[in-house]
């Protein structure tokens, strides 16, 4: 750097250190003695990191960026040295998207921490909860600031683990335990792909790096996305099944991203993950961790764009997931599950936005990050709002709510804002980002995807309005719902802040900050046609929902459901994917692989050992059977032995 970096950039390590040490201190020392204090300290720490992240963002943005934003790694140290050119430097990368994510993560995280102070009040594992939440924040920050792919993998696993702990927070509840296991194992399976991708990238990266010499490190993003290196990568030629090696590696890496971002068909864990406390869902399973996959693709976007094919796969899977999840979301009754499917759908949105981007049409890249940004706020808001409702009604079932509009005014208002935001209605944040995505899809010539996107926009508006109406409108449908009252202020403050952000976020001149390449032009402005189409879809969806659910009852929609018959059941049962997975794991892997292996080990391999022991005994018995006691038999052996000796001496002499 030619000029002096500011305080935040010079001390970038603090972004990781603050939550990490707070995690250690809270987890090891404060939690066992003073759980209350643990919560407060944890929250303060996250607020501190949020403040630091803002400072860092401001400093970074002030570095200016008219000819593209520089990527800098202001702090790093060698953590794990595999061999030369293959060392992992733990550090902090600072570029627009990492700054963006830092801001989003710390913001949402600190709000969720604050909210949780109220929401989790009186829970037995209060301290434990905040410990994990802190760990998660640390891991997530480590993920977004990773300057190399291995640090990202490390953080990736850590967020997985903290997510596991938080989903299974109610560890005495079997369903929570199951959900946590499922989340961990499914994402772990995806991570296998990530790991293999890393291995391939690392291997060929190492070849390239060692040719280049110097201090090039094969795992560094700056190295991997270096145009020269990328050129060498794409020249590697075919790997497995004729797929070019680069594409193969990227697809494997993408598999990891797809797992974390719950892309079809690895989506099954996310809805179940709603077993965790609601603020956790807001933080991890809506705003931050699940976008890690998107972030990963964005981080490696130049490589993906070089490959092309890999990006197409990203696009199609993203598009499919967005429709698929949106359809399911229309039929679910659990408020959090609807939100979960909605998250899936929106993640699909971000993914295909990235997928349609390319070197020539990089708008999708910006659009995707923009949507990530806005979505984080309104989806967190939706979850926290839902949490507030659940807190009041003691149920997740939307059909057990109703009529909360008056009883919970703040929750209602903020939830409505978020619903409008996600439905893509001007001037709420979702409008801008969604519009940009659709524009990107159309602009890059993916008309099919554009159409699907439009459809999803409509569906999104529909199902979100559905839960909004059913929850807040009409009459209270249960005892709890009728006695519900507004949540404490400590939970409402985050709601309000997020609501403000859900409105304001769209007006951020996003394309200025996050863009791929130096290209301006298409980044700006709103295409009126697309905006109209998107808004129309949203309005249609809302309208349709109003028609069906404005009184908060299921009667009218039931007619349609019955009309659809089997199709409806199929959707409502999530296309039976859980059952399919259960079948594969339990019936096939456990019964047909694991059990036979255990059997084989006990009976064949161990049997072999026992057999050798047994045959030794048999041989021993046989030998001692010759010991008949007949002295003349012994004599015969003796003479026979002498003959044998004669022959062996005579014949075998060297």
């Amino acid at each position: 750097m030619e000029h002096e970096l500011g305080f935040a950039l010079r001390n970038a390590w603090l972004i990781l250190a603050i939550p990490f040490f707070s995690f250690l201190v809270v987890g090891l020392f404060i939690r066992p003695r003073a759980p209350k204090l643990a919560g407060i300290v944890a929250t303060l720490a996250v607020f501190a990191s949020a403040g630091f992240a803002y400072a860092l963002a401001v400093e970074y943005l002030s570095l200016g960026g008219h000819d593209g934003w520089k990527t800098i790694v202001p702090w790093s140290f060698e953590w794990l040295r595999f061999q030369e050119h293959l060392a992992v430097h733990i550090g902090v990368i600072v570029d627009p998207i990492s700054v963006l994510l830092m801001v989003v993560v710390t913001t949402v995280s600190s709000l969720v921490h604050l909210y949780s102070l109220g929401y989790m009040h009186g829970e037995a594992g209060f301290g434990r909860y905040f410990t994990w939440l802190n760990l998660f924040t640390f891991s997530m920050l480590a993920l977004v600031t990773a300057p190399n792919i291995l640090q990202m993998y490390v953080a990736w696993e850590l967020v997985g683990a903290s997510s596991f702990c938080l989903i299974g927070y109610y560890f005495e509840k079997p369903s929570a335990v199951e959900a946590s296991k499922k989340a961990f194992i499914v994402t772990r399976f995806a991570d296998l792909g990530f790991l293999l991708g890393v291995l391939i990238l690392g291997y060929f990266g190492y070849q390239i790096a060692s040719e280049a010499g110097g201090s090039a490190q094969a795992f560094d993003f700056l190295f991997l996305t270096n145009p020269e290196v990328m050129g060498k990568f794409s020249a590697l030629g075919a790997g497995l099944f004729g797929i070019p090696l680069l594409t193969l590696a990227l697809l494997l890496v993408y598999m990891g991203g797809a797992g974390k971002s719950a892309m079809f068909p690895l989506h099954i864990w996310l809805p179940d993950a709603m077993e965790g406390p609601t603020p956790v869902s807001a933080l991890i399973h809506a705003a931050t961790m699940v976008v890690a996959g998107v972030y990963l693709v964005a981080r490696l976007f130049p490589l993906f764009a070089t490959s092309g094919d890999a990006l197409l796969v990203v696009a199609y899977i993203g598009a499919f997931t967005s429709v698929f999840a949106a359809v399911i979301a229309c039929t679910q009754d659990d408020i959090k599950r609807v939100l979960a499917y909605s998250t899936l759908s929106q993640l699909g949105y971000m993914m295909f936005a990235l997928g349609v981007a390319s070197f020539e049409h990089p708008l999708g890249y910006t659009a995707s990050m923009f949507h990530l940004f806005t979505h984080a706020f309104f989806k967190a808001l939706l979850f926290l709002g839902a949490g507030s409702v659940i807190h009041a009604v003691h149920s997740n079932e939307i059909w057990k709510m109703g009529g909360l509009k008056a009883k919970m005014p703040v929750t209602h208002a903020t939830f409505a804002i978020a619903t409008l935001a996600i439905a893509g209605i001007w001037p709420f944040a979702g409008f801008f980002s969604k519009d940009e995505i659709l524009a990107a899809a159309l602009g890059s010539g993916h008309t099919g995807i554009f159409t699907l996107g439009l459809m999803v926009a409509g569906l999104t508006a529909f199902y979100m309005s559905r839960i909004y109406f059913v929850t807040f409108w009409g009459k209270a449908k249960t005892e709890h719902a009728s006695h519900a009252h507004e949540s404490p202020w400590i939970m409402l403050i985050p709601l309000v802040i997020l609501a403000v952000l859900s409105i304001g976020a769209g007006f951020v001149p996003f394309g200025e900050f996050v863009r791929f390449g130096a290209a301006h032009g298409e980044a700006h402005g709103i295409n009126p046609m697309i905006a109209a189409a998107g808004t129309l879809a949203g309005v249609l969806g809302i309208g349709f929902a109003w028609l069906l659910y404005r009184d908060g009852l299921a009667e009218r929609s039931g007619v349609i459901a019955r009309a659809l018959g089997g199709g409806y059941r199929l959707i409502r049962n999530k296309f039976y994917f859980d059952e399919l997975y259960l079948f594969v794991t339990h019936k096939i892997i456990f019964r047909l692989v694991a059990a036979p292996i255990a059997w084989f080990d006990r009976h064949v391999v161990d049997g072999g050992v026992n057999l050798s022991g047994w045959s030794a005994r048999v041989f021993g018995s046989a030998v001692s059977y010759l010991q008949t006691g007949q002295v003349q038999t012994y004599g015969s052996w003796f003479v026979g032995g002498a003959v044998l000796l004669l022959f062996s001496l005579w014949m075998l002499r060297a």
Partner: protein, 514 residues
């Protein structure tokens, strides 16, 4: 007497002190053992510091060295006419193993605090066993090495036979005999090395200067590798391990899985690969295949186990597979990973067995289906168990990840002597274990610790006592320290691995490919 001799002698003296304590005074016996092992831990720390002072300045020069460099060497002629010496030394690999052992025996003594039956014999045997282990790690004369090797293995028979549970005599006998069969192969290999070298010495550092004919290496390498492999649970010679571990008392399982199984990987690296590079090149792939089977087979085998100890034992088979896999990969990362995995698995599995013992001491069952919801009544143990589990599935932040990532990279990067495609395929197959491991670890632990408390009696159970907390706490801390600061260990061992790698590259002709 030098520092290293003290490292070997301290546990032995402690054992003697235990023997001369009246059998009734079990508390004394335990305190003596604890003080002895605690002192050993301090001594180990001091030795590490001394070693590091000596080794650090040379780390750079080792990058190209072809011969290992011993520090703190002690060399006394023994059976002079046969070139047998009392030769102790330490390099990074053995140093890390000594640290591991010292930690495990210290925590093992703590974990055995509840042993009352024939406590005197128990602790004495335990300490004798550990004496052997330290001897193996520190001796560089193959005769001495072998001697300590068997001293380390044999007390196991009595320890399992007397204090074990279940079919203990069967397990103890099987374990002892299988391991001794392994050492039978070792004897053949060692004597071969001794005579074929024509140097009339068992000095490992000297033998490395000999060039062994390829025809000799061709059979000696597998003999030695398998000989050590039996102890390292190499498939299909691993079946002593599940039964042995299941039957053994807590501290013995800890030591056995935690330390003794490491002798296998250690020896395979130190003796087989280092001295017989040509053989290693010929047989590398063969053992890669076997260890790949190990890795997957162990983890699949663990899925359906009902007994917690069998469960852990199969997981050990899988993890020890990583050790030998790394060794067989024949490159820097693989071998480094192998040593790291030895350390990591040692601590991890020590932790597991300690915890199982503690849980068993309370619930009086080790059957997974009979337990449930124990996290509610024994949160400390549950958390430690989960940390161990996370470490075992290779979660970053714990030592398991550091090791496994090395091993995977090592396998994937391959070596110039083996078909790269096959090695990569094997590595890919091996990586699948990270998923399978997650499956069995989470399933098993969830059943035991999570969910509602299944048996009303469990409500009356207590959490860990102070000794248990110290014991498990030390192990957990070790896992975390290595996981968070892997460079501590890597710096220690890397320079010592280089000569092994360099020898591989220097010897013979490179066989095609690449």
């Amino acid at each position: 007497m030098g520092l290293l001799s003290w490292l070997i002698v301290v546990p032995f003296i402690t054992a003697l002190a235990v023997i001369f304590t009246p059998a009734r005074k079990t508390a004394w016996i335990k305190w003596i053992s604890l003080v002895g092992t605690g002192f050993h831990l301090v001594l180990t720390a001091f030795t590490t510091w001394r070693f590091w002072q000596l080794a650090a300045p040379e780390a750079a020069s080792m990058k190209t060295a072809q011969l290992m460099k011993l520090h703190l060497e002690e060399r006394i002629p023994w059976f002079e006419s046969l070139g047998i010496q009392y030769l102790l030394g330490v390099d990074g690999i053995s140093m890390s193993m000594v640290i591991l052992t010292s930690i495990i025996i210290f925590t093992g003594v703590l974990a055995s605090w509840k042993v009352e039956e024939r406590a005197k014999e128990f602790f004495a045997l335990l300490l004798v066993l550990v004496t052997g282990v330290f001897g193996v790690f520190l001796s560089f004369d193959l005769f001495l090495f072998f001697m300590f090797y068997e001293v380390a293995v044999l007390p196991m028979y009595l320890l399992i036979g007397i204090w074990g549970t279940g079919p203990k005599e069967y397990s103890a006998m099987k374990l002892t005999l299988m391991l001794m069969m392994g050492s039978a192969l070792l004897i053949v290999g060692f004597l071969g090395l001794y005579h074929v070298s024509g140097m009339n010495t068992f000095d490992l550092t000297k033998l490395a200067e000999a060039t062994f004919p390829a025809s000799f290496q061709k059979w000696a390498f597998p003999a030695i590798f398998i000989g050590f492999g039996v102890l390292g649970a190499l498939y299909p010679f691993h079946t002593w391990s599940p039964d042995g571990h299941a039957s053994a008392p807590t501290a013995v399982s800890m030591l056995h899985a935690g330390v003794l199984m490491k002798l296998g990987g250690y020896g395979a690296l130190r003796v087989a690969v280092y001295l017989l590079p040509e053989g290693a090149k010929d047989w590398g792939l063969f053992f890669m295949v076997l260890t790949t089977i190990n890795i997957l087979y162990g983890s699949f085998g663990a899925i359906t186990q009902k007994d917690l100890k069998y469960f852990t034992a199969y997981s050990s088979v899988s993890h020890c597979g990583f050790v030998l896999f790394g060794v067989a990969a024949l490159n820097l990362m693989g071998m480094k990973g192998a040593v790291l995995q030895m350390f990591s698995h040692g601590v991890m599995t020590g932790l597991f067995f300690a915890l199982i013992g503690m849980v068993y001491g309370r619930t009086h069952t080790r059957m997974i289906p009979e337990m449930g919801g124990l996290a509610k009544v024994m949160p400390w143990l549950a958390v430690c168990f989960y940390i161990g589990g996370m470490a075992s599935l290779g979660l970053p932040g714990f030592s398991g990840f550091v090791a496994e990532s090395h091993v995977f990279l090592g396998g994937f990067f391959g070596n110039p002597w083996t078909d790269a495609t096959i090695m990569r395929t094997l590595t890919v197959i091996a990586t699948m274990s990270i998923v399978v491991t997650a499956v069995y670890v989470l399933r098993g632990m969830a059943k035991v610790f999570l969910g509602p408390v299944t048996d009303p009696h469990f409500h009356a159970l207590t959490d860990a006592t102070l000794t248990e907390r110290i014991s498990t706490g030390v192990l957990v801390a070790t896992l975390a320290v290595v996981g968070v600061m892997p460079f501590l260990l890597i710096d220690l061992i890397e320079a010592s691995i280089m000569p092994i790698v360099n020898r591989l590259h220097a010897s013979g002709v490179t066989v095609a490919l690449h």
